[in-house]
């Protein structure tokens, strides 16, 4: 997600690493680069200015801890400032008082409100809530249809909106029918609108007044540029939003909008959207995000994600194996099977410390079609072969190739890639884990 900023910061800090102690000059040089990197990452100009000032104040004159290089010391400060700015500990939904509760999603056109509404509904359903989806977008063609279809997919009731009614009337009627549907939580999907469209912003204020939702969440596109501050500020000024959901985080956007929006509204980012599938919604962790920005990886996130989808035992096994570099083809196979649940290999690798620094990671990026082939090849191996790939000799390779409907070259390539991956993991566990741990003690 933030790889590019990560790479940029890392190359900056490489330059000043080992140039003796932290001085005014190397703080200035580093901050010049930090500033450009943050701007490049779409953090708002004014937010960057303030952030860089704060870091400068803290950094200059600060004594370098004995165990750190000046570069590491600055990374530490930048990291702390990013965490502080993005809001400390994670925040879930706060829905208090009598049921039915309501939650309202607002935002610009195309930010992903409808998809997010359905994802949230699914997530809340899993937590034992009884959500009720309310399509209150009477403007965009087929918006109501879209939510109805998504609701059917995830088995959540959808209020049968009459587009001739005003959105606030729709919401009020839905509220009165929620009990009858056995629902305890209304999820209101509003129409996308420009933050400067006074008439439509007033409409949202009317819905808020009638329904008094416990949560008003702004859905913002992670790819948003400088304008994120204007959008967030206007929505917050009109509605006093309770939080933010950042959508489309699975791309290669550097995501500076996260920093900008938090800085300008002071409201927490509660979730991130990471795909078009209904389960592609995750909590937002500012601390993890900050270390991800700085290339320190996110083992915690990986472990947690794995735990949610694998059973705990298997997750621990995987973590241990990754650390000890005992990863074999058997693990690779079970990983491929879990791939759909766990996210892409690239995503997983991105969460590991040290991989952000590895430029060649991009070349290792697995092609999804290739993965199907790879799985077929691994499936054609015996258990013994999977446990110890070194025994796979020429005749075994031929058998595997025939069995999986591939050529011997494909098998050779897979084995070569696998050994490379193993080497890479070795590299990570040596330089990544070890290095990073000593560095933040």
């Amino acid at each position: 997600m933030f790889e590019s900023l990560t790479e940029k910061l890392n190359s900056t800090f490489k330059k000043i690493t080992g140039r003796g102690r932290l001085s005014e000059t190397n703080v200035r040089d580093a901050l010049k680069e930090v500033r450009l990197a943050l701007l490049e990452a779409d953090v708002n100009y004014k937010v960057v200015k303030k952030l860089v000032e704060d870091i400068r104040e803290r950094a200059v004159g600060q004594e370098v801890l004995q165990s750190l290089t000046p570069g590491q010391q600055i990374i530490k400060i930048v990291n702390e400032e990013l965490i502080r700015l993005m809001g400390g500990a994670k925040k879930g939904l706060e829905l208090l008082g009598r049921t039915p509760h309501s939650l309202m999603l607002v935002g610009l056109q195309g930010s992903g409100k409808t998809t997010t509404a359905a994802k949230l509904a699914r997530c809340l359903l899993k937590q034992g809530r009884k959500p009720y989806l309310i399509p209150a977008d009477v403007y965009r063609p087929a918006a109501i249809d879209q939510l109805e279809k998504l609701g059917a997919q995830i088995d959540v009731p959808v209020y049968p909106t009459d587009p001739a009614l005003k959105p606030e009337e729709i919401c009020l009627d839905a509220l009165s029918k929620a009990g009858g549907e056995g629902a305890d939580l209304l999820l209101i999907d509003t129409a996308g609108r420009l933050h400067i469209d006074e008439a439509l912003m007033a409409e949202l204020v009317r819905i808020k007044k009638e329904i008094r939702p416990g949560e008003i969440l702004l859905v913002a596109d992670a790819m948003t540029g400088q304008d994120a501050v204007n959008v967030a500020k206007n929505f917050n000024d009109s509605l006093d939003i309770t939080g933010v959901i950042l959508s489309k985080m699975e791309g290669d956007a550097r995501g500076g909008a996260a920093l900008s929006i938090k800085a300008v509204t002071g409201k927490p980012i509660k979730f991130i959207g990471v795909g078009e599938k209904m389960d592609a919604l995750e909590p937002f962790y500012p601390d993890r995000m900050a270390s991800q920005i700085l290339g320190m990886g996110d083992v915690l996130s990986l472990v947690e994600k794995a735990q949610a989808e694998f059973d705990e035992k298997e997750a621990r096994k995987l973590e241990k194996k990754l650390k000890k570099n005992e990863f074999d083809l058997e693990d690779f196979q079970s990983q491929l099977r879990q791939m759909k649940k766990l996210g892409s290999l690239e995503q997983i690798l991105g969460m590991l410390p040290g991989t952000g620094q590895m430029k060649n990671l991009k070349q290792l990026k697995p092609d999804e079609k290739e993965l199907i082939k790879v799985e077929a090849i691994i499936n054609s191996m015996t258990r013994e072969e999977r446990k110890n790939y070194k025994i796979i000799n020429g005749s075994r390779r031929q058998r595997i190739a025939r069995g999986s409907g591939n050529r011997v070259q494909d098998v050779n390539r897979l084995l070569k890639n696998f050994t490379q991956t193993k080497k890479m993991m070795e590299h990570i566990s040596k330089r990544g884990f070890a290095n990073m741990e000593s560095f933040f003690r």
Partner: protein, 324 residues
């Protein structure tokens, strides 16, 4: 016409607040937005300034950055101005303003990318692509309307078979602009829909065919491949097709737009860029660097959700708006 959509959420495209405003008034509003030179950011900046100072340059840099003109392009613009100041070619802040405008304009003036044109009697096929939520379907609706106003027969092909109700959304636009929509059910192979669409368009002597594709992030290899397949299948049915590939960019997008252009261009070869959502407060400055680097012209800008809210791109007006 196959599969008319349910009537329920059609026809509400005109918002209550705008209902009684005439075209003239809306035009005026639009002009006010783009031509408020008097109170423009740049003019305010230069007001009463007699010489070019570092503060002035920093404020200039802020204008460029906050318009989403990225780091590289902004630095290039500021460096060139600074050089001229050092060489004493520029002393007058007024002249500085002109120099900057001209410099940006030089990036924006891009000639057409060579692309195939349809043989006489064959339809012009336009493939419309982009990431999720940029306004592809809305752009198609509005662009189709432009062709309809010229008396052209337009067909819309619903190749977004992935997103729930995407087909229905296009069908509503088809009704609005009186264009036939070729569709299959959600989940169908988009290339098959395109093949069907082109077959129908050729036999019915349609003038212009728009292919609406599913929004996809440019980083998803398999979805980008799907797009290449659509492209190939179109060309197999009608040599030369798609004649144009329009990438729809959201003006609110930051530096990621560069990556979008790069990847989509690599996958298909883009003929035009459409810049949508310029009716908000975003300046869309990202296209400055994009045009400089990729030389793909911006064909239209989107300035609203109404049928006539798609306008030809005008570089002068665009630069003006950046400094407003």
């Amino acid at each position: 016409m196959p599969g008319l959509s349910k009537k329920k959420d059609t026809g509400k495209e005109i918002k209550d607040a705008d209902q009684d405003k005439g075209l003239f008034q809306r035009l005026q509003q639009g002009l006010l937005k783009t031509r408020s030179t008097f109170t423009g950011r740049l003019d305010r900046l230069f007001l009463g300034k007699k010489e070019i100072t570092d503060d002035l340059l920093e404020e200039l840099e802020e204008i460029l950055f906050t318009s989403d003109i990225g780091v590289t392009t902004t630095q290039e613009l500021i460096d060139s101005v600074q050089e001229k100041v050092v060489r004493k070619e520029l002393k007058d802040p007024e002249k500085l303003k002109d120099a900057l405008r001209d410099h940006i304009l030089s990036f924006l003036k891009v000639t057409e990318v060579p692309h195939p044109v349809p043989e006489p009697g064959e339809p012009l096929v336009i493939l419309v692509i982009g990431v999720n939520g940029v306004g592809k379907t809305t752009t198609i609706g509005k662009a189709a309307q432009r062709f309809r106003m010229e008396g052209k027969q337009v067909m819309l092909v619903a190749a977004d078979t992935f997103r729930a109700a995407a087909v229905e959304q296009l069908v509503v636009w088809g009704e609005r602009v009186e264009a036939e929509v070729i569709r299959q059910k959600t989940g169908a192979d988009p290339s098959a829909v395109v093949f069907d669409g082109l077959t129908a368009a050729i036999s019915r002597k349609i003038d212009v065919v728009f292919i609406d594709t599913a929004g996809r992030l440019h980083t998803k290899t398999n979805l980008m491949e799907e797009l290449s397949k659509i492209h190939r299948v179109a060309g197999r049915k009608l040599p030369g097709a798609p004649h144009e590939a329009w990438l729809v960019l959201d003006a609110t997008t930051g530096q990621n737009a560069i990556s979008q252009v790069e990847m989509f261009n690599k996958a298909l070869g883009l003929s035009h860029i459409i810049l949508t959502k310029l009716d908000g407060t975003a300046k869309g400055g990202i296209v400055v660097g994009i045009l400089q680097q990729f030389k793909i012209p911006v064909k239209y800008i989107g300035i609203g959700e109404k049928l006539d809210d798609l306008r030809p791109f005008n570089a002068e007006d665009f630069v003006q708006a950046i400094f407003d």
